[in-house]
Symmetry: D2
């Protein structure tokens, strides 16, 4: 894929209102790879005072969106399994990386990790998409 198309896809994916409202930043996208980051703020906590599972999932899901849409076709998530290994205190910087394990004709398989900047594993995720025929970028 020409680098310009890749830049356009990344720009399109990054216009993600939900991710923005949660404080998630799209950092990098390459074919089969995506990375996002966020900081654990008071807004991302649940009633126990630890990061809400939904916030951590959203971070991982956004990295997964970058990786799975990186080839230019619209990818739709079918299944995601999130295992929560550890929690992270307020102020922690979290980084999610999604890696494509296999790109089938229609299906795509991904592994996503959520780590602290120090490299401690917070969560791992396995995910599957269905890749549609339609392109992310408008024709023309």
């Amino acid at each position: 894929m020409p680098s310009q198309a890749s830049d356009q896809i990344f720009a399109t994916l990054s216009r993600d209102p939900f991710a923005k409202s949660v404080g998630i930043e799209y950092q990098e996208m390459r074919p089969g790879y995506g990375r996002t980051a966020m900081t654990v703020t008071p807004q991302t906590l649940n009633a126990h005072g630890i990061p809400h599972g939904g916030a951590i999932f959203s971070l991982a899901d956004s990295a997964f969106a970058a990786a799975s849409n990186s080839h230019g076709q619209v990818a739709v998530a079918l299944s995601m399994t999130m295992n929560f290994l550890a929690t992270a205190p307020l102020g922690t910087r979290l980084v999610a990386e999604a890696q494509e394990l296999r790109k089938g004709h229609r299906a795509g398989f991904y592994q996503i990790t959520v780590k602290t900047e120090a490299g401690d594993l917070i969560a791992v995720c396995q995910a599957v998409v269905h890749r549609k025929k339609e392109s992310i970028l408008p024709a023309g």
Copy 2:
């Protein structure tokens, strides 16, 4: 559990900053059961213009938190698997219900559904918690 304690647990869980910021309402909690709701707003959309997987997951996770903490012990999510069956247009009212399948000594198993008000299935989730010894409510 006395109804008053149950009310206090529900009040405690509902003070959930992340859920609030996403627009998720805690609606009901009974032993082994939780229900939450939210409306698909522009803020909950992703770059494709459909609800972000993280928003739907957060709704389900909050219902799961209500159900799994309903017995008064702190429950920590270990694993959640979310299958995304359908999407929902802007303005749709989504309701998540979490049901306890089994309450073991330490582990707890849950099934969560996300539906439209019309009853259409949007997502299903299976989840497992580890129940700690500590109580949600402060002693005394």
Copy 3:
């Protein structure tokens, strides 16, 4: 689907060497539904003397195969999540039932339960398939 085609599909699926070797019986198949059964024998136990997770999974997977192939197109499993709620003693009769939650154009979503004959829940499973264009039955 004509009932005769359905009978042929069921007969084809039931010729399942692995299921047979494990002691799994294909019991029923209707559009979107499948049921299998097996008895916990010494052969199905693991080193702890309880049913091997692989035996319980295989029972569920076979019911899932019946349900997901019931429409006549070849279905390929993409993802399965199995939660193990309880164990079952030697001699227990186990029944797995798979129910289709949604049949998309290409994807299919299923819920599978494994229960004792008394109705006690042993395991629950969520699963997703990709449906191919090719038919299970030979053309002609």
Copy 4:
């Protein structure tokens, strides 16, 4: 753990009637790690003539059992998510490796891969156990 105890645990786990009946070999166990192998035989096939999901799962589950019981305490599987990336023809040698991602006080988290000898990924699995207090080896 003394190497002798480790050898005894491995010997105990390897006495696995179900794994044996499926043709699964326990190959190696170290703290937090387990490896098993099997060959795709006619017995392991399903009705479509490809390896039964239950056979592949059983191979992964056995490696997971080795890894999760490697510390000497009995580990009970709570949840396993299996993603099926590719199939493997008759005669293929399959190897499953389970790696511990985190060993909590009670919970344990694992990643399992199933590969051909050539290193092609057939399936990936995420799994969680609850670790009991009781020891695998008899006291004394």
